[in-house]
């Protein structure tokens, strides 16, 4: 059963000058953890705001938990939780007041659904009398998640919950999402961090309002065309220049400690030839090895293919 079905949705701004979402279709299964992966301007927020009935599409249709996103907006609003990218709770209310406000709005109480938020709420409970505006970034995020969950939604929409958050806090947040998923909540989460893609069950790679690929992270990586190699030398900046000048190289870009490269044509001695060429250009301490592509490699490949 699909909890979210999106069919050929379009959204433009400023008299159709900005095409935020173009012909996007996908579906999210019940209980699935689905990721919208893409940079700023990819259309992630527009999509989430349409599905949470805060924006109307220009064209196309979508259902959430069986309800039409335009006609049945009241029904959808009762059944979804939404955590916007920007902190949107009441800064002048305390932690507890915020939570109880959102519970009341949805005709429920903190006690009725406490089991769902317990794991997260206990971490901020010591500060329950503090005003939300005075919380640290990490605590604000946890409170926002509790407020989005307090009415036990069928589908949870999270818009870039980990943007600007350090690695350690990001890992903690994803652990929280996994535990929520085990409680049967369908989760649609967006992120600009490609390394978070592997934490989702299925992902859509978004760029400039269009979906470039939808699949499990494993399948997307497997579908990477051709082979990918990692190379490094004692002088990484010069090495990149030399690689760009070397015709048999199809693509090359920095990737952390290494540069990632692919060849125009796979031949038996292309690796040796490359090493000899680079040695002739005074590159030393060279290391070249085949590597598994990551989601970021796939994203770059797909972006280049669409340009």
């Amino acid at each position: 059963m699909n909890e979210v079905i999106v069919q050929q949705v379009y959204k433009t701004y400023q008299h159709q000058e900005i095409k935020a979402v173009s012909d996007v279709s996908f579906s999210v299964k019940k209980g699935e953890l689905f990721g919208l992966i893409g940079p700023d301007g990819a259309g992630k927020t527009s999509l989430i705001r349409m599905l949470t009935t805060l924006l109307l599409p220009d064209a196309g249709s979508a259902t959430v938990h069986g309800f039409d996103m335009v006609k049945d907006f009241r029904e959808i609003r009762k059944r979804v939780g939404y955590m916007p990218g920007k902190f949107s709770l009441y800064a002048d209310l305390t932690v507890e007041e915020n939570l109880s406000f959102f519970a009341t709005v949805f005709n429920t109480s903190i006690d009725a659904n406490y089991d769902l938020i317990r794991d997260i709420y206990v971490q901020i409970e010591p500060f329950k009398n503090r005003r939300a505006g005075k919380l640290s970034g990490g605590m604000k995020q946890k409170l926002a998640l509790c407020c989005a969950l307090i009415h036990r939604p069928e589908v949870l929409f999270l818009d870039e919950p980990t943007t600007g958050v350090d690695t350690v806090s990001r890992k903690e947040f994803w652990d929280m999402l996994k535990r929520l998923k085990q409680q049967g909540i369908t989760i649609l989460v967006s992120t600009p961090y490609m390394d978070e893609a592997s934490l989702c069950e299925r992902i859509a790679l978004l760029q400039a309002g269009k979906i470039m690929s939808i699949d499990t992270p494993e399948n997307i990586v497997q579908q990477y065309p051709g082979k990918l190699y990692a190379i490094k030398s004692a002088s990484m900046s010069n090495l990149l220049q030399e690689l760009r000048n070397y015709a048999p190289i199809n693509s090359c870009y920095a990737f952390g400690e290494y540069h990632h490269i692919s060849f125009e044509k796979e031949t038996s001695n292309m690796q040796n030839e490359l090493i000899r060429y680079l040695q002739s250009k005074h590159q030393h301490a060279l290391e070249l090895k085949p590597v598994q592509p990551t989601i970021e490699d796939c994203f770059i490949k797909l972006m280049n293919a669409t340009v």
């Binding site: 940079p39 990490g138 943007t163 600007g164």
Partner: protein, 247 residues
């Protein structure tokens, strides 16, 4: 002998009982790409404000491009560039107006400005966008333009606060090409990032935890020191013991 462009000695900032930055001492060299990393709330922003001459330290000392952070903050501001993800350019001015505005503030002459503006627009391939409002440009272009504007006056040091957050993977790499080119011209780069692959592009990395500088070395040395396969692991190892969590 390497030229030192930033030198701090037990630099400290207190807010009441809270020690945001606790006795940090380090040096940054001419033309170096220096990564300034740390968890949220570790004290990075506070430290950067002191280094830019925007916040007076509580104790300790520091010189930036040879100028004192207590007494010579105006000279510091003239000799540095600054760019952050949150604030960089004026969205309601067009590309040329932004360049002229910043150039004017940094005291470039009309002749210098005309030359620089043309050069920059060609370099970034913004010829057709020159008269467009900056607010209408894609984020990646904005960030590249913002960086170029931050180094328009050829400062000794440029401070970059999370310059690539949310930028697509191709543009992120083009941004680093600009950083390398600036470093090759002798501009020292002081950069913060949450992308651990970008930590690898720095000559040296420092890691702040709870207001203290816990580690400072080349990426290779840090990985060896912490017996880690990646910078991500090094960061995790250092930051997971952090007690402070804030923005």
């Amino acid at each position: 002998m390497k030229n030192i462009v930033i030198k701090t000695d037990k630099l400290t900032k207190r807010f009441g009982d809270f020690i945001a930055t606790n006795e940090i001492s380090f040096e940054v060299y001419d033309g170096e790409i220096f990564g300034f990393l740390g968890a949220n709330g570790a004290g990075k922003t506070t430290a950067m404000k002191m280094l830019c001459g925007l916040s007076t330290p509580s104790s300790g000392s520091a010189t930036i491009a040879g100028f004192d952070v207590y007494k010579q903050t105006e000279q510091i501001k003239k000799n540095i560039g600054y760019m952050s993800q949150k604030f960089s350019l004026y969205e309601d001015l067009n590309v040329i107006e932004n360049i002229e505005f910043y150039g004017g503030i940094y005291g470039l002459t009309r002749k210098q400005l005309a030359h620089k503006t043309g050069e920059l627009i060609t370099q970034l391939g913004l010829q057709t966008e020159a008269k467009k409002l900056v607010g209408s440009l894609p984020l990646g272009w904005k960030q590249k333009l913002a960086f170029s504007v931050a180094v328009l006056h050829e400062p000794k040091i440029v401070f970059l606060d999370e310059p690539t957050g949310g930028v697509d993977p191709i543009t992120r790499r083009q941004f680093w090409d600009l950083i390398y080119a600036a470093a090759d011209r002798g501009i020292t780069i002081f950069v913060t990032t949450h992308y651990m692959d970008e930590a690898e592009y720095c000559n040296r990395i420092s890691m702040m935890v709870d207001g203290v500088m816990k580690a400072l070395d080349t990426p290779a040395q840090l990985k060896q020191q912490f017996n880690a396969g990646s910078m991500d692991e090094v960061f995790f190892e250092l930051a997971r013991g952090a007690k402070r969590k804030a923005d």
